[in-house]
Amino acid sequence: MTVNGSAKEHEVEPRLLLVHYLREVVGLTGTNIGCDTSSCGACTVLLDGESVKSCTLLAAQADGADITTIEGLASGDQMHPMQEAFREKHALQCGYCTPGMVMAAVSLLKEHPNPTEAEVREGLEGNLCRCTGYHNIVQAVLYAASPGSVPERNAGSVPERNLGVSA
């Protein structure tokens, strides 16, 4: 599979979950494991540009797929517009849900470029923040979607290739 633009090839056990593959085999620990029951969304990554919960996917199912993790969003020192929006709106408290929230939000804006507040709240229903910091998270996604907030770049975009991270 391709992870953040770089080709990865490993022989793995059939039961290896994608999240364990990413964290333990590829070495990208930005993707968190939260509930481990496909409820909380902390492990959300993009598979061919769409949000998925990597705790509920076998690594073997993602064979040949294009995976983007939180490490693959920034271009070098330049943060992805969604990351900038989360910083601008202080959309985190403890930070544990943040990688999954950001990935889910990128996928959300790809499908709904101009969401209403209600659509953002519904679109993030697969991600739980146990600090209950939803207000600023929703504000950040709306900010990322608003014209001119993060100029010349699309907050729903997924980088073609990873410029800043090696596995």
Partner: protein, 274 residues
Amino acid sequence: MIPASFDYKRASTVDEAVSLLSDGGEDAKLLAGGHSLLPLMKLRLAAPALVIDIGRLRDLSFVRDSGDRVVIGALTRHRDVEIDQTLRQHLPLLSHVAGQVGDPQVRHRGTLGGSIAHGDPASDLPAACLALGATFTAVGPSGSRQIDATDFFQGFLETALAPDEILTEISIPKATGAAWSFQKFNRRAQDWAIVGVAAVRGDRTGVALVNMGPTPLRATPVEEALAGGASDAEAAARAAEGLEPPEDLNASAEYRRHLAQVLVRRALEQARAA
């Protein structure tokens, strides 16, 4: 949580999947999107010796306008059912319900056929298929056969599929312009319905219930009452007749019986006003 060890095989055709299923016997399971099977395997409530990945049978991901019916490939994902224009026009109840399953991440992986074949009484899509009068196609070693949705769900997580059969297509009569409603009651976003109701009123009237017994169910007494000219309220009062809904942390059986009547009434009223 890590599933018990299993052998993993990937099928590239329906025939290959059927052949692998026949060889694997009762210890083999099909894996489509994996959003029902993998959680069970992680909890070790399921421990198949052989997992046959059919996720790449792209031939089974389609929506086809077929005259007075719409035919949907079993591997069509919830997200694709939700946004498909043919379905939105002719079976808007099904599109809407697909958009209510789980959360976006689940809808990016879960498949219509997987949800039906899993046969969970708490799932939304089987109820929509029952209300809409769907017919399922199953393919096995001796060929294919049609199974009416009403005959398909036989017990808790048990369906009419033989161990060596694979669900390939879902065929549903068009309900273009028919009024419909889907009522899903839960306490938290993304949760399973405590009780759900799918209703359609038009040339065909169908009402089906989520989480009101061991299988997805048709609310036959409600349908009969409506056919006999009963009012919405009279028909809804029969929603829990003869049913033994589950008890769990969310609700007692009595609470579910009451809720079913309330939600069926709301569904019938909404489907009348629409």
